[in-house]
């Protein structure tokens, strides 16, 4: 089967590169700060990949995944502090909880088509912010929640290294799941929903159940990323956990990298994550970050809805083709060949 070699090349090789990069990065990082930036970038990568379960497969855009991550973080923290669960048990339990909560949320958001999903996703961020700020007897409110260290006494650089690998593992699991779905019948149905929901339904795809299922999977991975962040970072504050900005960065990353490709969101996360960190170090933070994010998001949506990287590669390919043809001497046979090709493509 030609498919096998294709998928080996397009999925296998990048996977090896990614695994190798994750494996060697901590030993190459010159100082703990760089390592911690690496953890942050991996966190983005997991979030963007988790987001892409919904965004990439079904075409439904969520601006509220930041809230699901925040929920995962708070659930993890609260299960450790209030229920005395061991850190990583709490992490898993939190992901299960958030996935369970995603069912009613998805029910409200996905029952009708169109913008209601986006609206619910934004509303989710705003309402969770309100609730977590106000319910201070449980969440600590604006005072924040301190999540106990999973490895007490571990020095900070070592702590970063451990979490870098944990995040790396989570990313690989998320990618593997995405790949599994992508090639499955379930995934085919989801992609059909993205292309034409009515049509998919008329062919017998239970679109609502499919959308809900994939939303729950996405929520679970997002919650895992958020929970891991809580364990790594240690301090949760509603204002930052339930920020609209988190969701918009994730959307930007996924769209930038390309939502139709397994590695698109990872790529987007690496580019945007590093850029965020770089601009912060070089220029400090100004409200212009918002402006830049907004502009980029607008540009991507208006001109490159398939993602910047896919669009650029198409452009490069087109340019290269043109160069090829101008440099090479054309024979009549070549021209005839080209014409035949074009006709075949048009017929």
């Amino acid at each position: 089967m030609p498919n096998a070699s294709k998928s080996l090349l397009s999925y296998g090789v990048p996977a090896l590169v990614l695994v190798a990069a994750i494996a060697v990065f901590p030993s190459l990082a010159p100082n703990p700060y760089i390592l911690s930036s690496g953890v942050i970038v991996l966190n983005w990568a997991v979030l963007a990949t988790a987001w892409n379960f919904v965004g990439g497969f079904t075409g439904y855009i969520s601006l509220g995944h930041g809230a699901l991550a925040g929920l995962g973080g708070y659930a993890t923290g609260l299960l450790i502090t209030k229920a005395d669960l061991p850190s990583f048990v709490a992490l898993i339990a939190a992901a299960v909880l958030v996935a369970a909560l995603a069912v009613p949320i998805g029910f409200a958001a996905l029952r009708v088509r169109g913008a209601s999903f986006v609206i619910v996703s934004i509303a989710l961020v705003l309402i969770l912010l309100l609730v977590f700020q106000s319910w201070s007897s449980l969440t600590g409110g604006s005072r924040g929640l301190v999540v106990p260290r999973p490895f007490p006494g571990m020095l900070r650089p070592e702590h970063h290294r451990v979490f870098f690998f944990l995040y790396g593992g989570l990313l690989l699991i998320a990618l593997a799941t995405w790949w599994l779905l992508d090639r499955s019948r379930f995934g085919m149905g989801l992609k059909a929903i993205r292309e034409d929901e009515d049509k998919a339904e008329s062919l017998g795809t239970p679109t609502f159940a499919y959308k809900l299922t994939v939303f729950v999977i996405s929520a679970a991975f997002t919650a895992l990323a958020g929970g891991l962040y809580a364990l790594w970072f240690g301090d949760l504050d509603p204002v930052f956990q339930f920020s609209v900005l988190t969701g918009s960065y994730v959307v930007l990353m996924a769209l930038l990298g390309g939502v139709r490709n397994l590695y698109g969101p990872v790529l987007g996360a690496i580019v945007v994550g590093i850029a965020l960190e770089y601009f912060k170090v070089e220029f400090g933070n100004t409200p212009l970050h918002l402006v830049t994010t907004g502009l980029l998001l607008g540009l991507v949506v208006m001109f490159m809805p398939d993602g910047v990287i896919p669009s650029l590669t198409t452009l490069v390919q087109r340019l290269r083709k043109r160069e090829d043809s101008s440099i090479r001497e054309m024979s009549a046979a070549d021209l005839a060949e080209q014409r035949r090709e074009r006709e075949a493509a048009n017929s």
Binding site: P2, K6, L9, S10, V13, P14, V17, L18, A21, F25, L28, A29, P30, N31, P32, Y33, I34, S36, S37, G38, I40, V41, L130, Q133, S134, S136, G141, S142, R143, G144, V146, L155, R156, P157, H159, F233, G234, D235, D237, V239, F240, N261, Y263, V266, L267, I270, V271, I274, E277, Y278, K280, V281, G284, N285, T286, P287, H289, I309, T313, Q317
Partner: protein
Amino acid sequence: MRSPARRTTWAVALSATLFLTACGGGDDGGDKATGPIVVGISLPLTGDFSEPGKGVQEGYEAWAKITNDKGGLLGRQIELKILDDQSNADRVVADYEQLIGSDQVDLVVGPFSTRLVVPSARVAQEYGMLFVEPAGAAAEVFNQGFKNLFYAAPAVADDHYNHLAEYLLALPAGQKPTTVAYAAMDDPFAQGTAYGLKKKLEAGGVKTVVDEVYPPNTTDFGSIAAKIAAAKPDMVVGGSQYQDGVNLIVALQQLNYQPKLAAFSTAPTNPEFAKAIGNKTEGILSPTGYSQDAPYASNKEFVEKFKAQFGQAPEEDQANGYTTGQVVGAAVEAAGCAEQGECQQKLIDWLHSNTVETVVGPLKWDATGKPQGAHMIQQWVGDDIKIVLPADAKEADLVYPKPAW
């Protein structure tokens, strides 16, 4: 069909390289013993806390300049490295991570706002650094078990109103306020001030009739004011930052509610305050940790040189930044060192067992880094705000009941 696959491969490989190289550029510090002492600070220069953040920044800058003009610390010049944390907790951690791990600064001092102090103090703790901070006044800061943290101000939030509580509880039964309404921002500091007073007054038998907590972004105070006005308490206490205090006072005035006493934290000491509420400031009380007129030795110098440097007199935020500098400076001079490593523990040990003279008076700390003092109480009298408590520092007498606003 091979080209899309190859494309993806290249793109991933490329980005991985990018990822590795982009992260490769950390610079190391210069000569340790003779070069300048680099002090790393992260401050909210943008975002929710940008206004006080900039105030604290001026305080730090004034401290560096004044100290450097006198020859620096241990004969070394002070160099400030200030990063902006956008009022954001993950930024503040990344900032200190960068300052300590990548920029290899010699000392770090604190950011602004309680909610940023705890995460950043933990970074400092886990790198074994001393952490003196100008803003973490809430009780939470001191029960995290930090051993490296010192709050460079006279009192924590809960103790700000101590002098006022004493005064009120000492009043004869007929005059003593019997009912109080509290409205506090859901912020560890602001709420701490109001609840500190509430706890003491309740213990003294004064009844709480309204107890409202509002989130930091509240802009409409109509209904909270309505509730307070309807309960007609003798006294209203606002646990406020700045704008929320102004808004609440305006909303109360719109309802024509006239309490016998009104106390608000922070807002009334702001220079813009009187104008913001249309000069209807009559009798409003506020605790303050700093006064330009305070008689402490270094304060005169501070006010004078600050005016020369920035063209205006320092406020509390500026004084807090300056005080932090003074505390760190004193520790460095005493320990005779200022770099990462063992020296940090020496600095911490020295501060735990000594008193430091600052522009807000002598400061000493308990084992958790909590300062042992109380705030002065100021009151608006005419067009000016004057110290009225404690008795030994007062510029005017406390007016009670306060005139109508």
